[in-house]
């Protein structure tokens, strides 16, 4: 059917514009697709995320809910319009100065919403800012730096407090993001922002049932009846292997299901047509008949006798088991004075990045180029090569900016669909997941069912722990094996035990695949272990923080895998840094509760520790970085460690600059293009600062040595790059040496000086008891949460989080704080709000992630126990920060009320049930 068109003229960012368009189009579509202004982002198309916020006649609205037809005469201001007035430019500068933009996908919505406030209230309070930003979700920052940026927008003299290198060193300085400007100007190119204008669109046909067989109807007749359709894709069109997986030996996920869909949302076919075709496209018209089959949605069902196997070669629906054991378990339990045990449950957790999966593909001769949001360009390349039956070199992955990942964008999403369609049609093809599609089809955090038992002596010394965790790994392997291996290694927490046994069991079900999500199963196990620690301390009458201090791992003590670190174990320092605040907080909570005994509010304080191994578990894990100086004086870092918001673009450059002895400002970066950058591995496992950072350090060092050798300068010489003069000036005790860059021989790309570094951390395989060297380093930390529980409603109000983390060396303290604040926000979601239920809450109004109003104040304490392997001693931080938040919250709820929560999220009804002494489960 022809779309109705309407001529519409309105004022956009101070200029009048005319469009002739479908009046029922959303304003987002008019801005992005008709006017090609991509700064306004689409996160949900339902008013749930606020990413598309624009000003309409001076008031902030969601552009996804404004029809084009009502725009006549309206004044619209988008992020692109904010830089024209000086006052608004200040807000953007303040965002950069405070580190308020991480991935940047929510930034345009935050900026427009804040602008609406600042126009009326130039110097707002924090509460006024929160009310103004409550409608915009951010999954990266934890909001604190955003609120800082808005509160200070008109009072901050950005020039008076420049982010300059600290004592001439980039490492350790609060430098602004190297890639920050486009994020606040609305010019950053995310997955849905870069497709060529003529690109066709792919829309997947997905299973409406958890498990179903299907048969296609007459696809040819359907295509004839809809001549705009250029291609219908299904399993038979896959030139190579219709299977992919992030762990190649476990590859088990089809691009298109062949006869049976194993989870709700699995793709079975895809329609490729011009964008306008989909305005009136109804999935229900697609010729396919479904037969719903009995599904297993929880491990208990999948493990039951007679349950259908999801994969024929995986007996009993068991995907994998893991174990770590050490010491005489029975003896140590027998000799203990106190034993506690408990059974804990967690649900699926959705990553909830504000950018749904998106990208486009272009066939260039007999190569395919894929630009999409991803955390793992080289893994994408290799998987696509197998699917497409191409050589890996014939697949080029050019990552777009990534609007949040947190683990889920390690797996393929849109890539095979767009690559296949572009390849077959020889036309550019784009795809963007809708929010429900993203939520139903991409990976989740593993639900867990954990039974654990821990024992101690009267004096508080731990003797033994026995842990058994069953994990719902969903329909396909994804990162399930990693979770199964990581959990037994980490379930102890960073404490010493004479005896320990931890078993994990990953079970397939008819749910979306469980995969990687910040922490790989450790946040789940930590809830059990840290919760039982409080039970032990309470039984022993010990202070809960002292109990942890007494048992904390230190240098020279064996971990549960028998690994001994001689240096760099900074866990005790983290706990000790909390101690003075802990003592005060306990007193304040007691005083509050005594003064308000007749009221309904009770205050509590909780603490939890954590550790997390950086990098792959006992597997090779190399990164390579390259850096070069061109004859024209440009210094370029080829930086393949994908920045998903955490800041690797900035961190890699800081490290390389110091290693080379150049200035941070000298550097340009080229990021994550598999034709240009070397493999820096995937952005996961808190490995980039450590492993890619070390490679960046080695590359910088080699460049430095190459430069020094040019003039035979001594090791402690200083180097100054002058891009205008195209020279390097090297100064040592022997005087000043000038290197004329244009006089040096150039390689084919114009480089005259080059450095390359590769690093692979030393690990060793684990034996049959899980003993060995799983990681070259661990990061450590501890959180203290103060909160208030309404004992009549079961609601929890978080007051203050103090987060101490041993990061070895903070390369950029501002970015580290951003990780702490954002990671703990996700921990808060896990503890209090979030549980994805397949088929029930595939949107952001039924699935709730924290808003700006749900965060406590967050105080970060950086502990720096330098690691001998990390660059400048640095350790990873990304996943560490989420792990202790949930147990600290649950322990504080217990402290406040005496109620132990055994199942998260601790929703008001569960908390109230626990308070009233009934079982806190559904």
């Amino acid at each position: 059917m022809e779309n109705q068109k309407m001529e519409i003229s309105f004022n956009l960012n101070g200029k009048s514009v005319q469009v002739d368009t479908d009046p029922s189009y959303r304003l987002t579509k008019v801005l992005r697709d008709v006017l090609k202004l991509k700064g306004t982002k689409v996160g949900c198309d339902a008013g749930d995320c606020g990413a598309c916020s624009v000003l309409m006649n001076g008031e902030v609205v969601c552009a996804c809910m404004v029809p084009a037809g009502r725009l006549n005469g309206a004044e619209i201001v988008t992020v692109e319009g904010l830089s024209e007035e000086e006052a608004m430019g200040k807000l953007q500068a303040s965002f950069l100065h405070h580190g308020a933009a991480q991935c940047g996908i929510c930034t345009p919505g935050m900026l427009t919403s804040a602008t609406a406030l600042l126009m009326k209230t130039p110097n707002p309070s924090r509460d006024e800012v929160k009310d103004a930003l409550g409608g915009v979700l951010c999954r990266c920052t934890g909001y604190q730096k955003i609120v800082d940026a808005v509160v200070n927008a008109n009072s901050l003299d950005v020039n008076a407090t420049p982010n300059e290198p600290k004592e001439d060193k980039a490492v350790g300085a609060r430098l602004k993001r190297i890639d920050g400007d486009p994020k606040v100007l609305g010019t950053d190119v995310f997955g849905d922002d870069g497709a060529p204008e003529e690109a066709l669109r792919v829309v997947a046909i997905r299973s409406p049932y958890h498990r179903a067989s299907f048969e296609f109807g007459d696809l040819d007749a359907y295509q004839k009846a809809n001549p705009e359709i250029e291609l219908i894709l299904s399993a038979k069109d896959i030139p190579g292997r219709n299977l992919f997986g992030v762990i190649e030996p476990m590859a088990d996920q089809p691009v298109f299901a062949e006869t049976e869909a194993r989870f709700k949302g699995e793709a079975v076919a895809a329609v490729v047509a011009p964008d306008a075709f989909f305005d009136r496209f109804k999935v229900s018209d697609f010729p396919i008949s479904w037969t719903e089959l009995k599904a297993s949605l929880i491990p208990e069902e999948a493990l039951a006798e007679g349950a259908a196997l999801l994969h024929e070669d995986r007996a009993g629906n068991t995907m994998v088991r893991g174990i770590v054991q050490r010491g005489p378990l029975a003896d140590e339990f027998a000799s203990a004075d106190v034993v506690v045990e408990g059974e804990f449950r967690t649900g699926f957790v959705e990553h909830g990045y504000i950018e749904p999966e998106a990208g486009f593909a272009v066939r260039v001769g007999d190569r395919i180029e894929v630009s999409a949001c991803t955390q793992a360009p080289y893994m994408d390349r290799d998987s696509l090569a197998i699917i497409m039956d191409l050589a890996p070199e014939d697949v080029r992955i050019i990552p777009t900016s990534v609007g949040g990942g947190f683990g889920s964008k390690l797996d393929l999403s849109v890539q095979p669909f767009i690559a296949l369609a572009a390849w077959m049609l020889k036309k550019p093809v784009r795809m963007t997941y809708s929010r429900p599609e993203s939520m139903m089809s991409t990976t989740k955090r593993h639900p867990s069912h954990i039974k654990a038992k821990i024992a101690a002596k009267k004096d508080g010394t731990l003797t033994a722990m026995d842990f058994d965790g069953v994990f719902n790994t969903g329909a396909y392997a994804s990162w399930g094996p990693t979770v199964a291996n990581r959990v037994p290694v980490h379930a102890s927490g960073p404490y010493f035990y004479p005896a320990y046994r931890a078993k994990s069991h990953s079970v397939h079900t008819n749910c979306a695949p469980s995969g990687a999500f910040r922490g790989f199963g450790v946040p789940q196990s930590s809830i059990a272990q840290e919760g039982l620690f409080d039970e032990l301390a309470n039984k022993l009458g010990m202070d809960r923080l002292d109990f942890r201090l007494k048992n904390a791992l230190e240098n020279g003590m064996p971990t549960v895998t028998g690994q001994v670190f001689e240096t760099g174990v900074g866990f005790k320092d983290c706990l000790e840094s909390l101690k003075p605040k802990w003592d005060v907080a306990l007193k304040e909570a007691d005083a509050f509760n005594a003064a308000n005994a007749s009221g309904s509010k009770r205050r509590g304080v909780g603490v939890a520790g954590m550790w997390y191994g950086c990098g792959n578990t006992s597997l090779p894990n190399p990164s390579t970085m390259k850096v070069g100086i061109k004859a024209d004086g440009r210094c370029i870092l080829f930086q393949g460690a994908v920045d998903i918001g955490q800041g690797s673009n900035t961190v890699m450059t800081q490290i390389c600059a110091d290693a080379a002895g150049l200035e941070f400002a000298d550097f340009e970066i080229i990021t994550g293009d598999t034709d240009l950058t070397a493999d820096a591995g995937k952005t996961s496992a808190s490995r980039q600062t450590f492993i890619s950072g070390k490679a960046s350090y080695l590359a910088g060092l080699e460049l430095r040595n190459v430069i020094l050798r040019q003039v035979n300068a001594s090791e402690n010489a200083t180097i100054k790059l002058s891009a205008t003069d195209k020279t390097l000036i090297v100064t040592d005790a022997g005087g000043e040496h000038v290197i004329d860059l244009s006089s040096l021989p150039q390689d084919k790309d114009g480089f005259v000086l080059f450095g390359e570094g590769t690093y692979d951390p030393p690990t060793s395989p684990l034996d049959e008891n899980g003993q060995g060297i799983p990681y070259a380093m661990f990061g450590y930390g501890a959180h203290m949460m103060e909160l208030e529980v309404d004992i009549k409603l079961g609601t929890v109000k978080l007051l203050r989080l103090v987060a101490a983390h041993d990061v070895g060396q903070a390369i950029n303290p501002m970015l580290v704080e951003g990780q702490v604040e954002g990671g703990s926000a996700q921990g808060i979601g896990l503890a209090l709000l979030e549980e994805f239920i397949p088929g029930r809450n595939e949107n952001l109004h039924d699935y709730l992630i924290p808003t700006v109003g749900d965060m406590p104040s967050v105080e970060t304490i950086l502990v720096e126990a330098k690691d001998p392997h990390g660059p400048y001693g640095a350790k990873g931080i990304g996943e560490q920060v989420l792990i202790p938040t949930a147990p600290a919250i649950l322990n504080a709820i217990h402290h406040a009320t005496g109620a132990r929560i055994y199942q998260v999220p601790a929703t008001p009804d569960r908390v109230l049930d626990a308070i009233q002494g009934t079982k806190g489960t559904n």
Partner: protein, 278 residues
């Protein structure tokens, strides 16, 4: 696909008389539904009917034009019995939603968790329905019939919400309980209006509870029990027995029994708040 943008109510009613149209006002329900289902085929965008927006004051009632937004209500200068409605307005979604969503849209969408309904119910609001045949006025209870069900007939549009001037010296309060601070669908919410005489004795009490039944409910038994009581003691008179008219469900947000208990607690607190302002 048709999209029409009438400029007057008469024009809109003429269009509605001829064809079934999906009415688009604030867009905060129509567009989210379209995310999965696609846009409806026939859309009548009534946002250009300027006469339908705004709050006016006549001899015997306040008139809220159908297109009056939640932000309009939050910013309006209204007497104290409207505090509950203004508080509800500030709890509807987010500022973005409050700037777009309309009072009539909230009623026509007929969600059991509509934040606007409990305060309007407590205010004895009436719904003005216009069609080419004329105008009829229904009490809100006779308009919102169930989950996504209203008394709206083909050819009819809600043109206004009317609130009678039947209170003096009234105090009111609204409490919404949700799992998070902003952008949240209510687990339970309550609106309370208390009218007192010059001895601070209750002369009228109106109590309504939302998200605890298919449609928001007035708790008439409790309202009756409060008449003649001292305002300072109202909060102590709330008993769970009065709430037997509620029939909450269990869903992803909370269990049924939790909702029922929370309603009692929230009404107690809202009444205490009213008493504080006396």
């Amino acid at each position: 696909m048709t999209y029409v943008l009438p400029k007057t109510l008469a024009e809109a009613l003429e269009i509605s008389a001829g064809q079934e149209m999906t009415v688009l006002a604030g867009g905060t329900d129509v567009f989210p539904a379209a995310t999965s289902l696609g846009m409806p085929d026939n859309i009548m965008d009534i946002s250009a009917i300027n006469d339908l927006r705004g709050i006016s004051d006549t001899d015997d009632h306040y008139r809220f034009g159908a297109l009056t937004t939640w932000s309009d209500i939050a910013n309006a200068d209204l007497p104290a019995q409207f505090d509950c409605l203004k508080q509800a307005a500030l709890e509807v979604g987010s500022i973005q939603i409050q700037n777009a969503g309309t009072i009539a849209g909230n009623l026509c969408n007929a969600s059991p968790a509509a934040d606007g309904v409990p305060p309007l119910l407590a205010l004895n609001a009436q719904v003005e329905l216009s069609s080419q045949d004329g105008v009829r006025v229904l009490p809100i209870q006779e308009f919102v019939l169930g989950n996504r069900r209203t008394a709206l007939q083909p050819g009819e549009l809600v043109s206004a919400v009317l609130v009678p001037k039947d209170l003096s010296a009234a105090h009111s309060h609204f409490i919404k309980l949700g799992s998070r601070k902003y952008l949240v669908i209510s687990i339970t919410m309550v609106a309370v209006i208390v009218e007192v005489d010059d001895q601070s004795k209750i002369t009228q009490a109106r109590i309504s509870v939302g998200a605890c039944s298919e449609v928001a409910m007035r708790i008439y038994a409790l309202e009756q029990a409060l008449i003649g009581c001292a305002a300072s003691e109202v909060a102590t008179l709330v008993k769970a027995d009065y709430f037997s008219c509620l029939s909450p469900i269990s869903d992803v947000r909370a269990k049924a029994e939790y909702r029922r208990n929370a309603a009692v607690e929230l009404v107690t607190r809202a009444l205490a708040k009213c008493a504080e302002t006396l």
